[in-house]
Symmetry: C2
């Protein structure tokens, strides 16, 4: 491919809506064009990267026995009514009515379609297990599209669905896909990723993992045990929050005047109480009923809203503008004598602390010396607090929990029978009885993976694509292309390498070296070959790696062999 | 791939909604599953065929300098408002409103997206020409989905868009794509296809061609000149209708009583007038205004509604229930003294005939001896009649026009500046002036091509896939797989051929030979290898081609080599 024929502009200025490096570099490098919120057209370099990622995914899915299929993007609503998700999913699902008045939806995931495809066919236990997958366009009407291809509304996704006759068979297969995912991300060149336990959300099911690229710009927070012998790692949404024991002894309950003291930090300053010996109240409202929910937890901790939602079984949002009509005194809410119209939740972090400071449900007053058993009664303690840096690992018991930020690049779910039950998919088991198969599902967003690799592997000048997914393997930069001899040398190199089956991007434009190299940095091609008047005079070509790990030259005679060796050397990194 | 692991059921009965062979065989062979009107999920065999077709298309598009890109399926309505098609396209375009109230559409074609991608970038004449293409899902809310994958609502399409600075450059490139299309269809194994001139419809532009698979079940009618020296071929929608000269001499205009004679055939019987010497009236109504349109044409011909629409510039439909309120006498409409409230169109076929029989605009009366010049005046003759078998070729002038039925498998359009003008895409030309680039666009429906090949190449038992697009190259049928030695031989063959990079489907199920072969016929794999007790006893394997052009055996020792030779022999047919 000749750069001068390639559609796409490269430029220096960072577009002002780009908050993260991968977004900025992929815009500046001519990889994609904004069409509307969360939607981009892709130029050829990005499309080539996508195809290579897809091929890696396909190979690894086939390796674990996957069968590639294709489901429709547009599905009848009736299919989603069968599973109950037509109503349980909100406005993130796009819906329309077709010319015949039939309600249709755009697929944001395809569990329903997978069950629809398999349910008339796999009717005997001998037909199991099997896994089907597709690589297809999805549309999710994301309220917060951001970060270029990191979070979009329309995206290409590999989604896979496995069907089993026993939980243990699912678990064994789940392990295999887990390993396949590790291979996929390694082969795609991701360096710093981990798998964490996660919340199953709208997918249903119990066990699930997310594969996370560790990066400061991640939207997710992960709890990772840093004890080298332990491998505990979980999305903070589901991570256990185990607190250090707080030493205190019983005191008398005393009301103190604390005018204007509404935060835990203020309390510390005013009364000298450590936040670990305070009980704070965090207020939510249920989305559906607007009913108030009060969470009491230790003052140094934060509420884990996912756990709270899972505990309550309903959606909630932080309460704002709480009034005395609700029976609460904002800033001074405490468990002793609380009489607000609200559901009350006590976090486990409060359990076992003999003496706490808390709001007195009276403006400008707090209690100190509060003992829950004595002063409140015997509430049920549940875990709704967020794991924190230095918290105790639920597996090894050491205080080695550390929080990281991450981008989700893949997920795997043990779904159970949620869909096969609701959609009445059954098989006849060995004993003649009818059962619902047990499902697993497994997703990878192709565009997000592409952007994530860029986010992890770039410098100030452009992406540094791993050779396994780079749009081309080699870029030839021909300086002084107006010089016939130089151009002749570069042309031959391009033709010879291309004839050998190598993927070569060739820049023979008559532009300054600086501009050509700036473009080359944005293309991010792993192997760069420079041909110039100077190299021709010395009968050599210059070769360097985009990641700077190699720079050298080789005689013009036989340069193709040397370049191919270098290409193979790079591939060997990802075997 | 093992047949016993492959998801998909094969069965004998033809589903009752299947009107055509490819639809029936692809349902019976476990290629696809109906989801809703015009929408199917594809099982692995069909998906594999699709991918092979896509790869052939990709190679040929790249060969003519195409750059693969990817446009969104979901686009903002505003983009389609720019081109004017948001309103000009009717209910075949699916529309919805997103969570922010923005109007969105599902792409049924991507001219708007192509201009959107290129218009900020290609700003100088030096940036031209270029061609971008994608292979992507489209949704068209087809009122008449039918024939399995032949006419669906959701489909995978390759759509390409080229941009040029001159009409001659477009024309040269159009020729190259025309040749690329010929290569694509030949490589995909289509045997009997032709390119015909076509109507540009909603795409705009002037010159366009459709590639047509010739088949009785086609929805389109094609006019082909059968004079060996002539290559005239056109969709009947646009084919010229040139009539033989009808000899007649002037007569007097005479009214005759023709009670109950309302058709041309009746006229022939009653008055002994040849249909070529009659003038019939065909009535339409304009869709928008309901206004009547009367077409007068020679009695043996039919109206070409596409030409009529193009002539009138509005949509029309056949009039039913015409009443005397419209000022016409149904069954007796004629041009002499016609006073109906209608637009009147005279077809060219009436020109030059001295004496005609026609309705007298009076119940139960016709005229004979009607001469248009003398009795009607000097109407404008336009061409709105359909070409017919034995009609005169507009190129060679011989009466060798023959009509065929065809399925459209690809189309190419010279679009002109319709989209670049309306969407304000300009470039600076050599002389410094701003101009709109000239576009071409080029489509192939991947699923329809797959179904078309099946339609053309099947027998009563199943598809006969060309090896270039077959889901697998080789199928190994192991009969008596319960026999350890036989199974061992077949297993080894499967492993060895797979290790050589061959695509092998392996049937080692413990079922009757008849059932296994019936399934194999439905899989339609080009090379079949049979291993059985009998072949093992004789130390051979049996090999046959699905198309019956070869059947033989080869020694077990070295059978892999022989089989690979046979595979290569089949590929050589499509070079």
């Amino acid at each position: 491919m000749l750069v001068r024929n390639l559609l796409g502009a490269r430029f220096k200025e960072t577009p002002k809506d780009c908050q993260i490096a991968s977004h900025a570099l992929m815009m500046k490098g001519g990889y994609m064009k904004f069409m509307c919120a969360g939607s981009y057209s892709l130029f050829t370099p990005a499309k080539r990267i996508m195809r290579k990622i897809e091929e890696i995914i396909r190979e690894e899915m086939d390796r674990v026995g996957g069968q590639e299929v294709l489901f429709p993007v547009v599905m009848p609503a009736s299919l989603w009514e069968e599973s109950g998700r037509y109503t349980s999913i909100g406005s993130e699902m796009a819906r329309f009515t077709d010319r015949n008045g039939t309600k249709m939806v755009l697929g944001m995931t395809h569990e329903e379609a997978a069950v629809h495809l398999a349910r008339d066919i796999a009717k005997s236990y001998t037909d199991f297990p099997f896994m089907i997958y597709q690589i297809q366009t999805k549309f999710r009407d994301e309220p917060r599209a951001r970060g270029g291809l990191i979070r979009v509304r329309e995206f290409t996704m590999k989604d896979a669905y496995s069907f089993h006759t026993s939980q243990s068979d699912l678990e064994g297969y789940y392990e295999r896909v887990y390993e396949a995912y590790n291979r996929i991300f390694r082969r795609a060149g991701v360096k710093n990723f981990i798998a964490v336990k996660s919340d199953s959300g709208m997918m249903g099911g119990s066990v699930s993992h997310e594969f996370m690229l560790l990066t400061e710009i991640g939207e997710d927070t992960l709890a990772v045990c840093e004890n080298g012998d332990c491998d505990y790692r979980a999305n903070v949404e589901v991570a256990d929050c185990i607190t250090h024991r707080v030493e205190s002894s019983k005191e008398e309950l005393r009301e103190v005047h604390t005018p204007g003291v509404k935060t835990i930090a203020d309390l510390g300053k005013t009364l000298g109480v450590d936040p670990t010996r305070t009980c704070k109240a965090v207020l939510y409202r249920e989305n559906a009923t607007d009913g108030l929910v009060v969470v009491f937890l230790r003052g140094d901790l934060e509420v884990n809203e996912t756990k709270l939602r899972n505990h309550l079984g309903v959606e909630v949002h932080p309460a704002s503008g709480v009034q005395e009509e609700d029976g609460v005194v904002p800033g001074f809410v405490g468990p002793v004598g609380f009489s607000g119209k609200a559901k009350v939740v006590f976090d486990r972090s409060l359990s076992g602390i003999d003496s706490l400071c808390c709001g007195a449900n009276k403006k400008d007053y707090h209690f100190i010396g509060m003992n829950i058993g004595r002063d409140v009664g015997d509430p049920e303690f549940v875990e709704v607090a967020k794991a924190y840096n230095g918290g105790i690992c639920p597996v090894c018991g050491k205080p080695t929990i550390r929080l990281f930020r991450g981008i989700e690049i893949g997920n795997i779910f043990q779904l159970g029978t949620k869909y096969t039950k609701s959609m009445d998919m059954t098989y006849v088991d060995t004993d003649g009885s009818r059962k619902n198969p047990i499902m697993g599902c497994y997703g990878i967003g192709v565009g997000r993976l592409c952007a994530s690799v860029c986010e992890e592997q770039h410098d100030a000048y452009g992406p540094v694509w791993p050779i396994t997914i780079a749009p081309w393997e080699i870029e030839i930069c021909c300086l002084q292309s107006e010089d016939g001899e130089v151009k002749g040398v570069a042309d031959r190199l391009y033709e010879n390498l291309t004839a050998r089956g190598r993927e070569v991007l060739y820049d023979d434009r008559d532009i300054r070296a600086g501009a050509m190299f700036a473009d080359a940095d944005l293309f991010g091609i792993p192997v760069r070959v420079v041909v110039s008047r100077k190299t021709c005079d010395r009968q050599v070509v210059e070769i360097s790696f985009r990641d700077k790990s190699f720079k050298g030259e080789t005689p013009l005679e036989g340069a193709e062999n040397f370049i191919e060796e270098k290409v193979k050397e790079l591939y060997a990194r990802y075997l």
